[in-house]
């Protein structure tokens, strides 16, 4: 069963890669601007033998992981707090809605102003962007609590903390998991974008160099690396989800069918 799913996934990827090979080969776009998969693969092969690539990858992943951890932690805590403390949600709604759409790219000068090309600069942008994803999902998730479950908890005198822990949190968890998956990708995107624009060390900076060097296959190779990272992150998230949400309809439904 698991093997079959993996095989299907691999088949999907293979089809996608084949498409990437065919489109430029048929002349739909020019090879020099959109290199075929094989060309990208060989550029990727060159990249991964280069030490600079690995240190860049390390830098990117560091920024990503720290930023994501902060964003998820803060997003969940703030989300639960805002939902649980009376009136806090109403009081913060307008501010949240105002701040959320402010693009991280517009904050780049601010980040540089404060931290230059340091890791903190990247973190600022990563956290700013991915925090909202987790927060909003948490808010919606907490709201999803079944009234009967909530009443049961209250009638047995469960305190606020116990209700959060035993009722709100499990209910919100599926939403939060989606939030984390969204935030993981956004954090990666922002880490790379920040490196790209600011020049903090990492994959993004490598992409910027490749772009301004007119090194098209190398640039695509690096983009593929970011895609693969996203893929791996998702596999991890799914694994966590299968364990943490074994009770949930979305997971148990899969087993039953």
């Amino acid at each position: 069963m698991k093997g079959l799913n993996a095989a299907l996934g691999a088949a999907g990827l293979a089809a996608f890669l084949a498409l990437g090979e065919v489109v430029p080969r048929t002349g739909l776009v020019k090879e020099s601007y959109f290199p075929p998969t094989s060309r990208i693969a060989s550029a990727l092969g060159d990249e991964i033998t280069d030490g600079a690539f690995w240190s860049a990858l390390g830098d990117t992943l560091t920024g990503w992981a720290i930023g994501l951890a902060i964003a998820v932690g803060a997003g969940v805590v703030v989300g639960v707090l805002v939902s649980v403390v009376p009136y806090l949600r109403e009081a913060t709604a307008s501010t949240i809605e105002f701040l959320r759409p402010i693009p991280s790219v517009a904050l780049i000068p601010l980040a540089v102003l404060l931290y230059g090309t340091e890791l903190r600069s990247v973190l600022l942008l990563v956290v700013y962007a991915s925090f909202w994803q987790v927060l909003i999902q948490t808010l919606y998730g907490v709201q999803d609590v079944d009234p009967v479950a909530e009443e049961t908890a209250r009638s047995y005198g469960l305190g606020t903390w116990a209700r959060v822990r035993y009722v709100l949190w499990p209910t919100a968890l599926p939403y939060v998991m989606t939030g984390v998956r969204l935030a993981a990708a956004v954090a990666l995107i922002l880490a790379i974008t920040a490196e790209l624009v600011i020049g903090a060390p990492g994959l993004g900076q490598q992409i910027a160099v490749a772009q301004s060097s007119q090194a098209v296959p190398e640039m695509y190779a690096l983009i593929v690396v970011t895609g693969l990272l996203g893929l791996l992150i998702n596999v991890g998230a799914r694994t966590v989800e299968r364990r943490a949400l074994a009770w949930h309809q979305s997971v148990r439904g899969e087993v039953a069918v």
Binding site: N5, A6, L8, G9, A10, G12, L13, F16, V29, F34, A91, A93, S94, T95, E97, F98, L99, R100, P101, I102, P103, V105, A106, P109, L110, L113, W132, Q133, I136, Q137, Y140, G141, Q143, D144, P147, E150, E151, P174, Y175, T178, L182, A185, I192, T193, L196, V197, M219, I223, T226, G227, L228, G230, I233, N234, H248, Q249, S250, G253, E254, A256
Partner: protein
Amino acid sequence: MIGRVLLRAVFVLALPAVLIAVWWAASSGSVNPYWPPLRTILTTFPDVWTADRLRSDVLPSVLRLLGGYATAAVVGVALGTVIGSYRRVRALCEPVLEFLRAVPPPVLVPVIMLFAGIGNSMKVVVIASGCVWPILLNTVEGVRAVDSVMLETARSYGITGAARLRSLVLPSAGPQIFAGLRQALSIGIILMVISEMFAASNGIGFTVVQFQRSFAIPDMWTGILVLGLLGFVLSVVFQLVERRVLAWYHGLRASTRRSA
């Protein structure tokens, strides 16, 4: 009744008022050109965002945003429903989608330009390509989580196909889909800015980036304010829509919460 309206107004305005006051005080003596006093920003505001500018920059941006957002909503919900309903399809598509999802829009834009040109359609595609993910993911998860008893009810009454979709799957996944739509709204604004960094000649994002590049820093800050305001206004509209569409849901959830 009036009391409630007033209370709401207080809730909406209190925290922003405090934050603005803090900002005002903290920035009042600033000499750093990148961190101008709030007063300067506010006095610049009316000069920058004239009626003319609203027509020439804000309107095109909003239209692109709506176009991209609508595209993403349709694609995200449609694709999400299919992927969420069929385990095999999910296994097949998920890796590719996760791959695409992780590609940063600024590097994706050039690729999109190869296929969609450099006009408005490119910008709409860029906005849609970013908005679609939260909608897609939430739809998939919402569809997967449809209650088993309800599913069986529908099956036993032979409610299949479009009817099943319309009367069971979508309403049931509705709350989660709306969470995704909500996320997508602000992502759309962000991507609107990013897309207008490429081959644009008007738009809010374009203007903000131009201000930034030309060191018109207070003007740039007004642009950021406009983006925030746009986000706020759209979210108010969004909430109105959500209250309508998910009336049953909010009624159900509130039916006990309001009491005691």
